[in-house]
């Protein structure tokens, strides 16, 4: 990882322009002092992807749960020129607005956004779900599985993920169609940034980091899960048989329960 950076000339002189953000939430009936969770959807997804199951489930287990739509996604303000820095800014803004130090949970390319946000906000902890950290390998896998949906993205067009990439066969067709129909797209500059495998600065405040995913994910190869987890000094937690969208797939309860169990054990910060 790169070194801690104190001089941030570009961020000071060219601050990210604010954009209206959608934040959905589900709060426990009784405040039990658990850390709030902030879910960050990947490219093309909005806060809705977590509102479907995970927010309510986390709240029912006593965790205040929030999900943000990155600018240009879901109900947030359109932002065709959004950059990775702007997405990380959106996440840090929402995290800092929560009453207490938050746990950031990023899915897909949202995990990369979280990795960047961790360098600007001392999270209580972080969870990277099926992380897409970019690079040509991910592009290669996507091109192989879904050439028609992926190729336009290389030229700045939208990335279109299909049912087979996102869900297992267990998910009823109708439900899968409904989710795929809601997918939007990320800004093209942010999409291109993925190819460069943009290196995040080290996390501030040394939060504990959990990496999880599915060995049968058709977007993120198992080797990537291992590589990302190793970077944070751990091994990935695996949920075989699930598609890339673990929060929407048929067995969505297993990964979120694993995340909440991990948090309940009060993981020690990685120092």
């Amino acid at each position: 990882m790169t070194e801690l950076r104190i001089m941030r000339g570009r961020e000071w002189s060219r601050p990210v322009r604010p954009a209206r953000r959608e934040v959905l939430s589900a709060l426990p009936e009784l405040e039990e002092g658990r850390p709030p969770l902030l879910f960050v959807p990947g490219f093309g997804h909005g806060a809705w992807a977590f509102a479907e199951h995970w927010l309510g489930h986390a709240a029912s287990r006593g965790f205040p749960a929030y999900a943000v739509s990155l600018r240009g996604h879901g109900g947030s303000e359109p932002a065709p020129e959004a950059t990775l820095r702007a997405y990380a800014h959106d996440v840090v803004q929402v995290a800092a607005s929560l009453p207490r130090q938050a746990v950031l949970v990023g899915h897909g390319a949202g995990a990369l956004v979280v990795a960047h946000a961790l360098a600007r906000y001392p999270a209580r902890g972080a969870v990277l779900v099926a992380p897409v950290f970019g690079g040509w390998g991910v592009l290669g896998a996507a091109l192989r599985r879904n050439p028609a949906g992926t190729l336009p993205a290389v030229f700045g067009g939208p990335l279109r993920l299909n049912r087979g990439q996102l869900f297992s066969r267990e998910l009823p067709d109708e439900e899968a169609r409904r989710h795929v129909g809601r997918l939007g797209r990320a800004g093209r500059r942010a999409q291109w940034a993925l190819l460069g495998e943009p290196e995040a600065e080290p996390a501030v405040g040394s939060p504990p980091v959990l990496v999880l995913g599915s060995p049968d994910d058709r977007v993120v190869p198992a080797s990537t899960l291992t590589r990302v987890a190793r970077r944070y000094g751990s091994a990935p937690l695996l949920f075989p048989g699930m598609g890339h969208d673990l929060m929407l797939d048929a067995r969505w309860a297993e990964p979120i329960d694993a995340i909440l169990d991990w948090l309940e054990k009060e993981p020690a910060p990685a120092r």
Binding site: E3, L4, R5, I6, M7, R8, G9, R10, E11, W12, S13, R14, P15, P18, H89, V92, Q93, A96, S97, L98, P99, R100, Q101, R120, Y121, P122, V204, G205, S206, P269, R271
Partner: protein, 468 residues
């Protein structure tokens, strides 16, 4: 929900296991670090020390957090109209941004709510004893410190606790600096220091003389221009009055665009003079004295309105005061004016009454210690000062990194003592180092720092401490 009037938590666990040098009982707080003050600098010290796993006891003599920015505090220097001078990106803590919905230059009440949210977000209040004043800080054996406290106002017994380290974050904008003048005692008008100026209603319909052209003096002169029947503004030199916006953006953001490109100081000064020339114009034409220095050689003034009101005749620039008469003030050029109210916006002086002058090698006791990085004292590796800086930009980013560096230094003392020892010898070699270009000699300028020079120095110090 917590409010800003907090009563803190019960007293620290007492383990009266030691005696102070003069035989008083001392409760030993083990590896805990003591932080003095819960203003911006103290809060970030608590947060960063906690983040590095240190226990922290913070003592705050007021009843809430926020220090200078808490207008409820008797000693708060803010007045009703105070807005930030540095725009948001330069002012916020680097890991806790101000909300996007706030303006470029937030109001002081927003600053207070920012610090209260910071304290709640990181659960800092449980480490703070409010209404408790530190009255003595004395070195004890093994680089530890005996800190004596009592209830603010002098009630209740004194108690002494022993700490592994101390962060002094007591602020430097609360002890007024008042100049002396011949005849001042006989003057029949009202006299006040800017620290007790709160609201423009205090000026309404009166003839007002404002002394000093720091940012406080300029702000008050502008309010007097709007509210008073007459306003004179006395300065002992000419200044550069920089607007808060240039080229349609906050001026500090434009300046940092140049800094990021590493444009040399001389060129930046030239560009600045040129921009001011094009926007504000020739100040002497307004009757303002010509600056006796180049831009960046005095603590910057950011005020778009002062020159505007001078141009409308609502502020009358006058020279330094020569002496006072019962009903008049005599100026250096021999003129006499007849103000009803005189406000001294002549600044503040740092003070460390709880510390023996020998610790800071400040024999004159002038509140002017010789430090490295304005924070570290030769010979006292477990003592740090946070926030003793007069930056050309926001302070909080700087005190954040100061306290991160101190937390890592304390960690190195435990895990890599040879690194900590090397750090200590750098403190000895480099104490007194400056982090700004040339500045005018004035009691307010010895701790002036350029934020870019200063943060680069901190970055280097961190790197040297932790490099493989």
């Amino acid at each position: 929900m917590s409010t800003s009037t907090d009563h803190g938590r019960p007293d620290p666990e007492t383990t009266p296991s030691a005696l102070s040098s003069d035989g008083r009982p001392v409760s030993d707080r083990g590896d805990t670090v003591c932080v003095i003050g819960a203003g911006a600098s103290g809060l970030t010290a608590i947060k960063n020390l906690r983040e590095h796993d240190f226990g922290v006891d913070c003592y705050e003599r007021e009843t809430g957090v926020g220090g200078a920015w808490n207008w409820r505090h008797d000693r708060s220097p803010v007045y009703a109209s105070t807005h930030l001078l540095s725009s948001k990106p330069f002012t916020q803590f680097p890991d806790f941004p101000m909300p996007d919905s706030w303006p470029d230059y937030p109001h002081h009440s927003q600053l207070l709510s920012y610090f209260e949210r910071y304290a709640d977000h990181f659960d800092l209040r449980s480490h703070i004893w409010f209404g408790t004043e530190v009255i003595r800080v004395e070195p004890a054996e093994g680089d530890r410190w005996d800190v004596t406290t009592r209830s603010t106002g002098g009630y209740g017994p004194e108690r002494t606790s022993r700490y592994a380290a101390v962060v002094i974050a007591n602020g430097h904008n609360w002890s007024p600096k008042l100049p002396r003048y011949e005849g001042l005692e006989e003057f029949r008008g009202e006299i006040m220091h800017a620290s007790s100026y709160k609201d423009p209603a205090q000026l309404r319909g009166k003839r007002v003389l404002v002394v000093g052209a720091g940012n406080t003096g300029c702000d008050i002169a502008v309010e007097a221009a709007q509210q008073a029947s007459r306003c004179w503004h006395s300065t002992r030199r000419g200044y550069w009055y920089a607007p808060k916006y240039v080229l349609g953006r906050p001026a500090d953001q434009v300046n940092d665009t140049l800094l990021a490109l590493r444009v040399p100081l001389r060129v930046r000064q030239w560009l600045y003079h040129w921009t001011l020339r094009l926007t504000v114009g020739d100040l002497t034409r307004f009757g303002l004295p010509k600056p006796d220095h180049r831009v960046y050689e005095t603590h910057p003034i950011a005020n778009s309105q002062l020159v505007y009101y001078v141009g409308h005749g609502a502020i009358g620039p006058v020279p330094d005061i020569a002496r006072f008469h019962p009903y008049a003030v005599e100026l250096a050029d021999g003129r006499q004016i007849d103000p009803e109210v005189v406000i001294f916006a002549t600044g503040y002086l740092p003070r460390f009454e709880f510390l023996d002058a020998s610790v800071f090698a400040d024999s004159a006791g002038a509140g002017r210690p010789t430090l490295w990085l304005n924070a570290f004292t030769p010979g006292h590796p477990t003592l740090a000062v946070a926030g003793l800086l007069q930056p050309d930009s926001g302070l909080f980013t700087l005190s954040h990194w100061q306290t991160v560096l101190f937390a890592r230094l304390l960690r190195a003392r435990r895990d890599r003592p040879e690194r900590a020892a090397a750090f200590a010898s750098r403190v000895r070699e480099r104490a007194g180092e400056r982090y700004s270009g040339q500045v005018k000699e004035s009691s307010r300028h010895w701790f002036e720092v350029g934020h870019a020079d200063y943060l680069r120095a901190i970055q280097r110090a961190l790197h040297d401490l932790e490099a493989k």
